[in-house]
Every structure is written in structure tokens, then in C-alpha cells.
Symmetry: C3
Subunit: 335 residues, 3 copies
């Protein structure tokens, strides 16, 4: 009962969050036939701004981190992100009536990480006085960015195959290069490099960071308008996305818990770190994912991936996964 | 003498305000033949941003207000806003040489409310220790938004009639729907709904609010350039706008004072509340009005409505109406 | 040895500065064939925003300054700025293989002032307790803005001559008017007038100032992409720019030191003021210059003028000129 109440509260809070509010607002005004338009040049610039911010922030966090201590956990984190996208894309490819790009993009968004879900878990650990290494939160770009890049490359391989016939040989390395040169990943990697190599804290804090939430609200408005127009593409398969979004966070988190446990045994990774790693894997991105995927896989339906992540995946990650992994850690590590 | 001095000081301060400075700056560089251009896509986005901010802020204020206590005053406020626009539009329709849209837009801007004039009155009331209910300032969107919507609908009805011949039947409800679907009112109402229904304080405070004054400065620059180009349309009728802008604030304020007095007698509305209601009615919008009207009635001449409001209406409201209504209240309510 | 170490440190710090980071980032992603684009309308608006900020800020500083006390130093400052541009343009016109616009733009950027170099000198003077008049820093727009205007006019005269044949009579006053009407100088002068005549502090502080560094970063990214595309235009003459950028700051600073010394003798200009004036002359603009020149002389190659200023001129000004002029002042004024 308590669980159900927490879950419904979490959904209710999500619906009052301005993030989702702008998305739904966009859908509603599209449904009412509004003539509101965000000019395309503005939209392109907003996507650029969002991706630069995500990149710069990730770069600064990696720069500030103790890379020698976190090397093995970072490698594990990359592997978890990639595995989630590969499994998800494969699962969706088996389901009937799912468009390939939509499935790959949804798998990508579940491979990426929600910073706010992670923050919620950190608060809980501190309340319960469960220790974790200070660099653990800096692991998140190691899961987030490889997952999104992989999803984009997979989608581009699929689209290439579709265009040229199934049996044609696909130049995977060419597609990887092409994907990295696309405007979305270019901006993300440029930001990452600037964050890593320059003292970009001041420009991040004075410009990219404060404008982020606001530009994201405009992006979600645009994506809401588009999502409405493409909503009935999903009519027959929406329940499949809901089932995936319900099960996937728990599965991904358990897999990460196992890998974290191995790191605990081998390099003495803390129990708190294992919990946070599991929460990262369980969470799905509602910030970095949408602009990246929208910019890089325009043919994928945002109703599919944002809908799955924001309306089912995130409440499950917060209300089910966080308490579940803390409880599991208490048993396994005898806290 | 004191009054004249206050009035001229108020005009002088207005002219040094950056708001008017940008408007006049736009006119001057247009007069000097500058090639400066603000790209149209930027302009559209700026209007969107301004209207979202006005809407979200209004929505949050209504959400925070005690609607049961303020119900009757709120209804009165809506009625005052609508009456001002209807009377103004009618008066202008009788005057010779005034283009209908220009008259309707000017009536709309005098129906809308100036938040800074209202704030000036609140400061004075506090200095004189005159009590008013805390929710009174939250009445302003109830006057502002209906007045602007009504002006836009009236202008669209006029334009439709003009296009299709005077005798054609006009589908008023169709025009109302069309007006609400236009990009300006869509953004305003979307913002209002988001402010009412979601926790949009953080995105308002971190994005829409801090960018507001600046984007408004750019908008006024653009409107100044346009106003210059259309200034001589008004050459023969400018004195009519000046006379209206001189008389209207006093008349509107007195009307609101009478309605407020009735609310005082019937539901014990405070004397301070009556004064603030009168000041709202007397004030004309220099913030919410220009972007809304410019977005929704593009054929109306901004030299007419902004000129009337900013250069005559607002100084009269501040220097004449506020002291007048405070003095009147002292007599009527025996403060 | 110490000097070389300081110089290399200064270069290294420059390279880590986000300003240069974004420029180099733009060059790198252009070299890698990225498809990232900043829409042109955004670019135009960014240039407008940057120039408005520079203008408003300059205007406010001039308004706040004690013009009677600073009259003679201000006139000297204008003369120094103009002389630097005239000498620089002449020198480059003598060098083989240098495109005229590139030389003029580079001379313009060395006539303009770097606010951060000036600030570094002010910090050092305060540490060494060397007095200067409070209005000295407000001299900088008197050097910055005339230098940029002159460079733009010279470039436009050259381009006109080139188009119409060398012997044709050139209408200089017509070109000056045309240059002032161009979008870049219009915005700069509009900002200057608004800063001088209106209370524009609040809109500067709430909008133009906080967005400045960020928009500058985007501008430098765009200029980096463009610079890469035009880099090999400079292959044969890059060493000439490097030599100019190495020598010019020292020469300009010594000239200003001499003029400042005359002001010291005649109107008792302080030794600290003489040092700051020399540093202004020695510094080259990395903030106001690039957007102004890029907007007003689009055919000039940004690799030439930004490269000279940012990678050689600024380190020389900071690491060589500031200590040099302080030492010189100690000897000359017996501090």
C-alpha cells in the first residue's frame, strides 16, 4: 500500500513539474489548433545550448575526478550503459509494431542517466549515513554519453540499411564518424572537450547553466507539439512501451548491482557506490536524452521515448528502485 | 504648481527610463537610416518569451490568491477591464481620422494594467499606513488579460468585416477561437495555464523573469524603428490620442472607485483596496500590452498605442491619479 | 629567464581561457568536418547583443566620469587610439602578401583596448600602492571606440576604391556615414547613447552584462569555424602578423607613456594614470574588437586579427608591457 502510495505521489509530483508541464502544454495547444510556432533557427540554437551545457558540465566533472581511483568503476559504468542500449534495442526489435528508430531511441534514453534521480538517491544515502566515494556521482557521464552515442549510431546503421536494402554491406566506421560529425554529437563532444581542457566553469555558471532549465522548457514545448502530431502512430503499441518502462529500470539496476558487487569484492568499491551505480542504471534521462536524440535521430517519435521515460520510467526509478537497492544493500553488505 | 512640477518630473523620469529610451532609440536610428535589423525569428521568439512570462506570472499569482475571498472583487475587476476597452473603442470610432485598429489597440492598452504604477501606489499606501487586503495586487491579471483579449477580438472582428464588406454576417465565436489560437494569445494562455497548474516558480525565476526586461528592451527597439516608419500616419490625429490619454486614466479610475465603493459597502472591501483598484483602472500597460498587441494586431500602429500610453497616460496615472484617489478615499472613507 | 617563464605561463593561461578555448574548439570541429551550424539569425542577434553591451557600458562609464577633469587625458586617449590604427594600417600596407582589410582590421584590434589586461594592471598598481585618478579606467572607451570606427571607415574606403578603380575619387564623408549606418556601428553607437542618456544600469546588469561572456563564447566558436576555413589564406604571411603582434604592444605603450608624461607635466596627470594609459595602448581587444570587426568588415579574415591579438598581443601586453611600464614609471617619476 505504502509502495503504491509512493508511486502515485511520485507520478503526481512529476505531472506538476514544469518539465512535464511544458511537454503536456505543447501537446494541448497542438490539440487545440494553436498557431504558436518556435522559429526553427531558435530551436536549433536551443538544442546547441542544451548539449553544450551537458557536455561542458560532464567534462568539468570528469576533469575534477580522481581518474586513477575511479578507473575500474568508470569502465564498468561505460559497459553498463552500452549493455542497456544493446539489450533494449534487441528487445524492441522483437516486439511487433514497434518502429526500429523509436525502439533504439527509447533504449538510448534508458541507458542515459537522470541527474535528479541520482541526486534523490544521494540525499537518501546521506540521511541513512551510508558512505560512498566522493567521485561516484562523477561516474554518470561515463554511462550517459556512451549510451546516447551508441543509440545514435545504431539508429543511423538501421536507417542506412533501410535506405540501401537489407543485404547491403554497411560501413559501420563511416556511420560512427558521420554520427559524431552530426550537429548534436558535435556540440556534445565539443562541450565535453571544452569542459575537460579549459577553465570553462565561469562561462558555464554565468551562461549555459542558468539558461538551461528555461531553454529546456521551450524545447519540451516544441517536442510536445510534435509529440501530439505523432501520437496516434503509437496507439497500438503504447502498452509495450509502458511494460518496458516498468520492467527495465528494475532489471538494469539489478544488473548494475551485480557488477558493482564484483567491484566491491575486487577493488573495494563502497556499498553506497554500488547503490548509486544501480540507481544510475535504473534511471532514464529526462534532461540530456531528449535534445540529443531529437537532434540526432529526427525520425524517431518523441512520444515514444519521452513518454516511456518521463511518465513511467522515472517514477519507477524513484519510488521503486531507490528503496529496493538500499534494502538489498543492507542485506548483502550487512549495513 | 506642485502638480505641474510633479507631472513634468514624472514625464522627465519616464524619458530617462530605459524602456522609453529604447523606443526612442529605435525611432532615432530609423530616422538616421541605420541598417540595423533584428532578425524576424529572434523577434518572434522574444514576443513568445515576454508573453510566457506575463502569463506564468499571472497564473502563479492567481494560484497563490485566496479565490473565495477575492471572488466578487475579481469579477468587478474583469468588468472594469472590459468596460474600459468597450468605451475606448467606441469613443475612438466616433473620432475623425482614427484608424479603427489603432483606436481599439489604444483602448486595449488603457484597459491593461501597469505593474509599476500599481507598485508605486502600494508604496504610497504603506507609507500612509492605509490598509489593503494582501490579495488585492493579485487582481491585476483579472483586468489585464481580459482587456487585451477583448481588444484583439474586437480588432479581428473589424478586420474581418473590412475584408468581407460591412453587411456580411460575422461569426464572432469563430473569431474568438481564431484569436485565442493566434500565436500571441496562445502563448499568453499557455503561460497562464502553466503558472496555474504546475510548480513553475523555478523556471520563471531562473529564466523568464531575468530575461524579461532585456528582451523587452529589444522589442521596444524594434517597435521604435517601426513606429518611426509609421509616424506620419498619425500626424493629423496625434492630438486626439493625447487628449484621450490625458482624460481616460482619470475617468477609468473614478469609475473603478465607484465600483470599489459598492464592494466596500457590500462585501467590506477595504478603502486601500478601492484605491488600488482605481489605480489599476487608471494605469495603462507599458509591459504586457505592447508585445501582445504587436503580436496579435500587426496592422495597428504602435506609435498610436505606445505613444498614448507611455508618454501621456502613465505620467497622468502616476502624478495625477494616485494622489487624487488617495485624497478622495480620505474624504469618502473618513481615513 | 623569469620573463620567458612569465610569458609562457601567460600564453598557457590564455590557451586555457574559455575565450580562446571556444575559438580553437570552432577550428577543431571545422577541421574534423562537423556539421554543427549556428543559424545566421542567431549569429546576427549575438553580434547585436555584444555591441549593445559594449556601447551601454562605455556610455555609462563616460556619464559617470568627471569630464572636466579628464578632458585633456581623454583627448590624448582618442589621439593615441587613432594614431595606432593609422600607423598599423600603414605598416601592413607596406608588407608583402598582406590583404589590405586584414591589415586594417588587425591595426584596429590593436588600437582597441582589452578590459581584462587593463584590470590586471589596476590590480598590480593597487598592490604596489601606486596612485591613479579614479576616472582613468573610464578613459578606455575613448581609445576603443574611435579606433574601431576608424578601422571600419579605412576598410570601407579601401573596398570602395578596389571596386571602382584606384583613381576614382572617393567620397570619404559618404563612407563615414555609410559605416556609421551599418548594423555593427549602429548598435555600438545606439548602446553608447542609451548608456549616456538613460538610466540603463538595470537593463545592463540584468540582461546585457550576464549574457555577454556566454554570447561571446558562441561568437568565438563561429569565428573559429570560419577562421579554420580561411586559415591557409595566411600560410605565407603568418610570421608577419606574429612579428607585428610582438613589437606593436611595446611601441604603442611607449608612445602612450610619452604622451602621458606630457600630461603629467602640464595637467599633473598621476604616474599611475600614465602607466594605465600605456597599458591601454599596449593592449589589444579580445572582447569588443572581434564582434565589431566581424560585423562591419566581413571580408577581413578573423584568423589574422584574432590570431594576432589573442595568441601573441595579449600575452605580450600582460607579461611584458605591464611590468615594463611600472618599472619605467618608477625610474621616470622616482616612485
Amino acid at each position: 500500500m505504502d509502495f503504491l502510495f509512493d508511486f502515485l505521489t511520485s507520478i503526481f509530483v512529476q505531472f506538476q513539474s514544469p518539465t512535464l508541464g511544458f511537454l503536456i502544454g505543447g501537446m494541448v495547444i497542438a490539440a487545440l489548433g494553436s498557431n504558436l510556432k518556435i522559429p526553427n533557427s531558435i530551436y536549433q540554437f536551443i538544442v546547441f545550448m542544451l548539449l553544450m551545457k551537458i557536455g561542458i558540465k560532464g567534462g568539468i566533472e570528469i576533469r575534477g575526478a580522481d581518474l586513477s581511483a575511479m578507473f575500474l568503476p568508470a569502465v564498468s559504468t561505460v559497459i553498463i550503459g552500452i549493455t542497456i542500449v544493446l539489450i533494449g534495442s534487441f528487445v524492441f526489435s522483437l516486439l511487433p509494431g514497434i518502429k526500429r528508430e523509436d525502439g533504439i531511441a527509447t533504449a538510448g534514453i534508458f541507458g542515459a542517466v537522470s541527474a535528479s534521480t541520482l541526486a534523490a538517491a544521494m540525499v537518501l544515502l546521506e540521511e541513512e549515513a551510508i558512505f560512498y566515494e566522493a567521485w561516484v556521482p562523477a561516474l554518470y557521464p561515463f554511462m550517459d554519453i556512451p549510451a546516447l552515442i551508441l543509440a545514435i549510431v545504431l539508429a543511423n546503421i538501421h536507417l542506412k540499411k533501410q535506405n540501401e536494402g537489407k543485404d547491403s554491406k554497411v560501413d559501420v566506421w563511416g556511420i560512427v564518424k558521420e554520427s559524431l560529425r552530426g550537429s548534436a554529437l558535435s556540440a556534445l563532444i565539443l562541450g565535453l572537450s571544452l569542459g575537460l581542457l579549459t577553465n570553462s566553469e565561469s562561462v558555464l555558471e554565468s551562461f549555459y547553466e542558468p539558461l538551461f532549465r528555461g531553454f529546456l522548457s521551450v524545447l519540451l514545448l516544441v517536442m510536445g507539439m510534435e509529440a501530439y502530431a505523432r501520437l496516434n502512430e503509437l496507439r497500438r503499441v503504447a502498452y509495450l512501451y509502458a511494460v518496458y518502462a516498468f520492467i527495465a529500470p528494475i532489471m538494469h539496476g539489478l544488473m548494475a548491482f551485480g557488477i558493482g558487487y564484483i567491484a566491491h569484492v575486487t577493488v573495494d568499491f563502497s556499498p553506497g557506490g554500488v547503490i548509486l551505480l544501480s540507481v544510475m542504471a535504473a534511471s532514464s534521462s529526462d534532461i540530456s536524452g531528449p535534445p540529443t536524440l531529437r537532434g540526432a535521430i529526427p525520425s524517431a517519435n518523441p512520444s515514444a521515448y519521452i513518454g516511456s521515460s518521463t511518465s513511467v520510467g522515472t517514477p519507477i526509478a524513484i519510488a521503486v528502485c531507490i528503496p529496493l537497492f538500499i534494502a538489498l544493500a543492507k542485506v548483502v553488505f550487512d549495513l
